[in-house]
Symmetry: C2
Subunit: 973 residues, 2 copies
């Protein structure tokens, strides 16, 4: 016997190490175990096996009675019942000992293995096994009754109870003895399912078609050698109360042994349970023809096993499930090349990822891009609406709406200043609502949010000054520029010029979007500083000398009063009749009085209150966003709090502001529907005010506007269409630009501001619509599934913006500092998602603390630093230029970024650039694609016809999108 075991184990070695001398020979050969597996697994791979749920029950003495107590379970990771805690542990990676695996191997070699047993109830199955053991002489017949008795004891499961029930129990069960009474369900080995089993909430975590494997281990006093059986049933059968959930059992592993080695049995039980949930081994278990196949499965498992040295790791530590585990497919294929066991990627080749598919830039045909865009977007059009009906949309709409009106008000105010109210807050609201609604309705990428942007504002300012100084009518000139620019946009669309954005890499994108973020942040802070200047604090105030502070309005000198009389001759009041002391500050100044006193130029409290509101809103939003990652409350509630963080922060600080009741500056929304400036109408006429040559000459400034709009629009679109966002419905650069052009012309006719894609708000829009998988197996990480792509949220946002003109009574309670707080948050949040920002942080980190970014593993740190430095310098230059008169050349400067990036090719190797300046390694791309294809094939047949139809379309889309931006889209389902 002894010799036999040696042989069995050495058999493992000989099978798997036969071709080694001290090392494997250079020729790649498969071990016999692998060969065997390849044969059985290769048979018919199209029908995947069901997921296995594994439950391990151990034999326990409860008072006089023996019972089976659930001690651990596996869906993918292990959850064990805590010793005294009567609670499930967190899911963790099963850490096994090599010892127990070898012991398990011997068990399977010596024990009974019954494959495809026709079983319908546990007693029958148990009888069958015992009979076989007796037949083979492994068990003496007089133990039949005893073993059968033990195996048919009741099963006690660890079920989770709703909290209100367990709280109610808290009072009752006070003694130590009654502790178990309420916490577990007890199942007889009946044929019917108990209510506890059916009610078990854990079912949600198990796939519908899952089958169970039950592991029973225990020590008994009547055996002197172990009783081992591995059973596969021909049909998965529900064996009464065996399993905690109503899932039919397919596998059964029984190990009973002599007393004294309970821990060993436990370990062996854990080993087989872990094997059963292993993707590869469970495949083997389903398809095994005999005992040898199972052994080969274990051998393969052993060969792929990861080993931790005992001195560097404490086996008591529970390892949290990793974010990502290698798929079984990968393991299989890799294994067959005998290349596994290369932990830590010692020499993992990375050559594959630089070889991006070649982007061929072809001029398809006149308007070819536009038609392709439309052709691609049309099939999605209905789903763009019904997919918007989701609770998440509400928070997204609220969030983006607030951002939009803040933007509309801010830019409206600034534009009003810049253009002498030719375009004011009213026009801003109307224009935002009109352009936004149209764009979200018809554009190629409805996730993009249109808004006024800084560069446009600067352009308008310069244009207004120019026309004022040269006696040209501003509105008419602007209209012609708009028309020219619209035509130029159409030309760009028709010639598929958007192909140029394929030259935009991470470098350009990041430069642009961080610049915009910085502008957001600095604008918010600037606004707050100007508040402080607008409401100066009297720092010399001494509370005790309150009697010394006043501000009086004194009547003007009689000598000057005549002048005052002349200026305000339309006033019906006689100036001398005025009670000067009763006048307000403004009236006093208006009537020529002078303000005398030491408080006249100070406003108490408002500056500090504004600061508190500003900073409070910002910090509360940040904290609530982070709350998602805290340990408190169930996931759903946390997600809700996180989604509505901005709304809650705004509400809180509006409430605080109301509570204190200070006259902080509030949001002012126009209430009447009329142009801000009384001397202009809603339509700008194209002729009559300017000489004819102006109509032609406006071509030149229009060109600048076109470049500006083109760059601003398309870079934002590239950022929105990033691979990371996993958009399914494809891009539509040409269509987007087309509508921006149309809206340019319309807005020019109506005398409304021009609109382009706003990077920061668009990113916020996408972030608020991100979807994550409900994780299935306990311990598995939720996966980012993509973005809820639809047109509804965008349309709602802009309709609401339009309606806001009538919402004034509600909106007027919102203090401006609160909105600036939201601005600051948006800027910071969009900055923190940028890799550039991560790389800046690296400067301040000692290398041992740096996160394990893939590019850091492959590019020397100083090259990374150099790259970041170049970006910082570029940004600084842009920032300085933006603040000078050259601001109008902003779009040209962005083009300059492309040039700088091109020059970097000379400084950095392509290898380095591929890692730093690329979005995702190419390898992953291919994998995704493959997986995507596979997912498709798994889809039900009824869609097959359609899928085939759309295949060509899909290919076109793919090639096209690659041509456009080197981005990749998934095909429509």
């Amino acid at each position: 016997m002894w010799h036999f075991i040696i042989w069995n184990l050495s058999d493992y070695i000989s099978r798997n190490y036969s071709s080694t001398r001290c090392l494997p020979s250079s020729a790649i050969t498969l071990s016999p175990a692998a060969e065997r597996l390849r044969y059985i697994l290769g048979e018919d791979d199209d029908m995947p096996n069901p997921t296995l749920f594994t439950e391990m029950d151990t034999l326990q003495q409860d008072g006089d009675e023996l019972e089976w107590k659930e001690s651990a379970r596996w869906v993918k990771f292990e959850e064990k019942v805590e010793d005294g805690g009567e609670r499930w542990s967190k899911p963790h990676v099963s850490t096994l000992s090599l010892h127990s695996l070898f012991e398990l191997r011997t068990c399977l070699q010596t024990g009974t293995v019954v494959l495809d047993l026709e079983g319908y109830s546990l007693p029958q199955i148990v009888d069958e096994i015992i009979e076989r053991q007796i037949d083979e002489g492994m068990l003496s017949p007089d133990l039949r009754e005893k073993i059968s008795f033990v195996l048919l004891r009741k099963h006690r499961h660890q079920t989770k109870k709703p909290i209100h029930r367990s709280l109610a129990d808290m009072g009752k069960a006070s003694g130590g003895g009654a502790r178990h009474a309420h916490s577990r369900s007890m199942n007889d080995i009946a044929d019917t399912l108990s209510t506890d089993q059916l009610r078990n909430k854990f079912m949600k975590k198990i796939p519908r078609d899952a089958e169970a494997s039950n592991v029973l281990v225990g020590e008994v006093d009547f055996l002197d050698k172990p009783f081992v059986a591995f059973v596969r049933l021909a049909q998965a059968t529900t064996l009464g109360g065996l399993t905690e959930v109503p899932v039919p059992t397919r596998f059964l592993f029984i190990l009973l042994g002599p007393t004294g080695k309970a821990k060993s049995y436990n370990q062996i039980g854990r080993a087989i349970a872990t094997l059963m949930v292993d993707d590869l081994f469970s495949d083997v278990a389903y398809k095994a023809r005999d005992r040898e196949d199972l052994i080969a499965g274990i051998d393969e498992f052993l060969d792929e096993v990861i080993v931790l040295p005992p001195g560097e790791w404490d086996p008591k530590i529970r390892i949290e499930p990793p974010k990502k585990v290698p798929t079984a497919d990968k393991r299989k294929s890799v294994h067959s090349l005998n290349e596994l066991g290369q932990p830590n990627g010692t020499a993992g080749g990375s050559g594959g990822h630089a070889e991006d598919e070649e982007i061929v830039c072809v001029f398809v045909r006149f308007c070819g891009g536009l038609f392709l865009d439309m052709k691609r977007k049309l099939p999605w059009f209905p789903s763009d609406f019904y997919e918007g009906f989701h609770i998440q949309s509400i928070s997204a709409v609220l969030f983006i709406y607030l951002g939009c009106i803040t933007n509309a008000i801010t830019f409206g105010g600034l534009l009003g200043d810049a253009t002498d109210n030719y375009q004011g807050v009213m026009e801003s609201f109307l224009g935002t609502a009109l352009s936004g609604t149209v764009f979200c309705m018809f554009s190629g990428q409805p996730l993009i949010i249109l808004s006024s942007t800084g560069p446009i504002l600067i352009f308008e300012k310069l244009l207004f000054e120019f026309s004022k100084n040269n006696g040209i009518d501003y509105m008419e000139l602007r209209l012609w520029i708009g028309i020219h620019s619209c035509i130029q946009c159409f030309l760009l669309v028709a010639t598929d010029a958007s192909y140029i954005i394929k030259y935009m890499t991470r470098f350009t994108e990041e430069g642009f979007s961080s610049l915009i973020s910085f502008i957001f942040i600095s604008d918010a802070i600037k606004k707050m500083v100007s508040h402080t200047q607008y409401y100066p604090i009297n720092t010399d105030f001494k509370p005790d000398y309150v009697t010394a502070y006043k501000c009086e309005c004194l009547a003007p000198d009689p000598s000057e009063s005549i002048l005052g009389c002349i200026v305000y001759h339309y006033s019906t009041l006689n100036i001398t009749d005025l009670d000067w002391s009763q006048l307000s500050k403004k009236e006093c100044v208006k009537y020529g009085g002078s303000l005398v006193g030491n408080t006249c130029k100070y406003v108490p409290d408002l500056a500090l209150m504004s600061f508190i509101l500003f900073f409070g809103t910002y910090s509360m939003t940040v904290s609530l966003k982070k709350f998602k990652f805290s340990r408190y409350f169930p996931t759903k509630l946390r997600k809700l709090i996180s989604d509505f963080s901005i709304f809650m922060a705004i509400m809180t600080f509006v409430g605080l502001d109301r509570l204190i009741g200070l006259k902080t500056p509030k949001l002012i929304v126009p209430t009447e529907f009329k142009p801000t400036r009384p001397d202009r109408g809603w339509i700008v006429l194209p002729f009559g005010k300017n000489p004819w040559w102006v109509y032609l000459a406006s071509f030149v400034p229009a060109l600048l506007v076109t470049i500006l709009i083109f760059m601003d629009q398309q870079i934002s679109a590239v950022i929105v269409n990033r691979k990371e966002n996993k958009l399914r419905k494809g891009c539509g650069y040409h269509l987007d630009l087309f509508w921006v052009g149309v809206l340019m012309a319309v807005c020019s006719f109506l005398g409304l501001p021009w609109y382009v894609a706003a990077t920061v708000i668009s990113i916020a829009h996408i972030d608020s619509l991100k979807m994550e998988s409900e994780s299935s197996a306990p311990g598995e990480q939720p996966q980012f599934l993509g973005v809820r792509e639809q047109r509804l949220t965008g349309i709602l946002v802009f309709v609401l913006t339009g309606v806001s003109i009538f919402l004034a009574p509600v909106l007027q309670f919102i203090p401006m500092p609160v909105l600036y707080g939201v601005f600051l948050y948006m800027g910071v949040a969009s900055l923190s998602g940028i890799q550039f920002w991560e790389r800046i942080k690296l400067y301040m980190m000692p290398s041992k603390y740096q996160p394990d970014f893939p590019f850091l593993r492959h590019v020397p740190l100083r090259r990374v630093h150099l790259f970041t430095l170049v970006q910082i310098i570029c940004l600084a230059v842009l920032w300085v230029l933006k603040s000078t008169v050259l601001a109008i050349l902003f779009p040209v400067m962005i083009l300059g970024l492309l040039v700088v990036r091109k020059m970097l090719d000379m400084v950095f190797s392509q290898h380095d650039l591929a890692w730093i300046d690329d979005i995702l390694p190419g390898k992953d791309k291919k994998k995704d694609k493959k997986k995507g294809d596979k997912d498709d094939t798994k889809k039900k047949d009824k869609k097959k016809g359609r899928a085939d139809d759309s295949k060509d379309k899909v290919r076109n889309v793919k090639i096209y999108c690659h041509q456009l931006a080197g981005l990749e889209q998934k095909k429509p389902g």
Copy 2:
């Protein structure tokens, strides 16, 4: 040959699994490998082996030249050179493949093993090895030259450069080719050490007596079978540029093989390197007598190895070093019982931890406890001073000093209010300085900080009212109470009554300390609220109507002015001569004027500014404290920032306050040395003012004071002396109480407030003096070593407090809200260290997110919740009582907690209570003790005599401290 390998590997199995059938038999037997190891390791265990530093170099082709390139290194954990990053990875646990370990085993069985080679240079050693291989017929003689040539190539090490140098390089090395030029040092196989080796900063991480083991692996084209050698040198020898650091080499592992299997060689190299740094295997390697011993070492290693299933873990993930790894000792002893391989502690018994050593409560002899205390503390007295000289002390002194003066001012102000200035801020400062200095100088536990406390304040208030109402002289009565109380304290000391605190468990302690924390927090917030009431905000202020706001002082009605004249008859001013409009608010009220106007009762800005300062100081302190755990900047800088966080926060907000320049309420420190009330002197006379019976009757209130002081003092002391703080110098409950009693009497004579231990500040004191080990091996966690126990910081704090009377010009810049912010922080910080608080948080956590507390593994959640609920109710009751007249019975209520705790014995099982209500499991206690003993034995001989002397003393201390509080102290070195 093939057969031979099978035999070799099956040999591993047969050795270690021979006693198994399918399972190990019930009798515990050692495997032959373990037997063998036990023999060689058991020989002489007193002389520990040097630590091994392992470097792995791989053979690389650099242009035309072959060279050895460092690819990984191990001190305890693995650090590898990143592929393209030219940087060291973070230290991580080496994840090996089982495959490579078996291959290594075969390599050692078939290759050359030379133990105790007399080697002095690499060429000589290489020659020796080759010669042996040729002799044994394993190598053909014509390969001699080639192998020798390869093995003597230069070694290129990955050395870390200072950042300024690498930044300088950034500019230079622009091409891809020159990338390697500057980043590495190149070492010839010379006999002398290069400057790069000597300058290597990594030396700091390696223990002084360390030796190196070098692993060389590579593929060459002239071999058709591997060339393997394992060499142990008789003497550790510096082999020129072989190792990156100037550490002598002891072991050498060489593996050269045919081309094509570089990855395999690498994995084998990593396997032997990991083995070499394993505590147990390195021991084996040092003591091995032959090849078989080494093989046995590998077998033992394999048996203890932890296995991760390939489907649940991605081998590419680098596992961070765990906080704690099992010690080699534990592994050895556990192993010898064949009980290893029980990961996740499936059935780990916890029975051991409830069996606390029996606490025998004996009345030693008159003043026995006091004398023992003194006897114990005396030997430490000198070190109590010189151990205080450390940079950390400065921050501690600053921190505690600020807490103390804030306390002194707050309580001083409150006492002044309560006692009609018989005890004011001046007395408070003086008393704090005097009591604190004396206590820190002579007490049993100098880490305790004395302070005024809430209960005492309430008592004084009631006492003053009583004596005022009954015509008894307050100061004289107070003196007699003090004298009586002092005598009662002496009685308590003499009878060793402090033994009573052994009944204080976590329950009582936590109840008391969270109550105090809540008082801190609520006091800070109350103060801020009262600020807002003191500086009301004019919420109706409309900036435009600034002209309407004023406050004027109007002359009183002539009818009332005579009264005003009478009241202020000592004023030299004639009231009618006054310019009423020039008077300040106070003067106006003083002279009977009336304040008229809408701003009179408002103070602008100050309330909001106070809030900003308060909340700003608090949040900044919290953030800076947390900064310690961020990734930025080197550890030392972060620790500095964290240590000085309170100081920096105070400085920042004092600066902000100065910058804005508002008249926020500032810290007022008395500048003249005289009693607050002019009609009292510095000495209170015991006789003369009250009838004689008062002297006797004051015994009764004195009793209350004594209970109060006893409880307050000793609970704080128990908290300070907690096991968690790892105090070495022992406790001194009797001595502490003795000095508190003495100071009671002294303070009563001088008319100063009474002082007891202040929990929150004492905890803050300990926290600011915590020591952590400088982690040695990369990846090892710093360990909490204990507290810098000394008297210097305490003394300095109180001397500074005394001197503060003269520091007024500096201290007057500190706004009070900043100090309240510090108060708030202290309260919150001391709360967050309490397990009770952690358990409250559990209420809000779904069980799957709950942290892995040991008690949660062993006690059902609802029992834990019930326990917490009882604590919450007790606290709520205490809180309510504290706010009523019953406050004076506060000490009795704490005694009530003990009763409640006793009653819990009936509700909870002892098993549950042992886990929830105990500080540390008893098992750990024993382990610590054992380790402590062992550490001692390792100490140098010169201290041996002394150590023996102190042994008895130590034992006494231990028993005594156990008797006192069930706490454990370490013996003095």
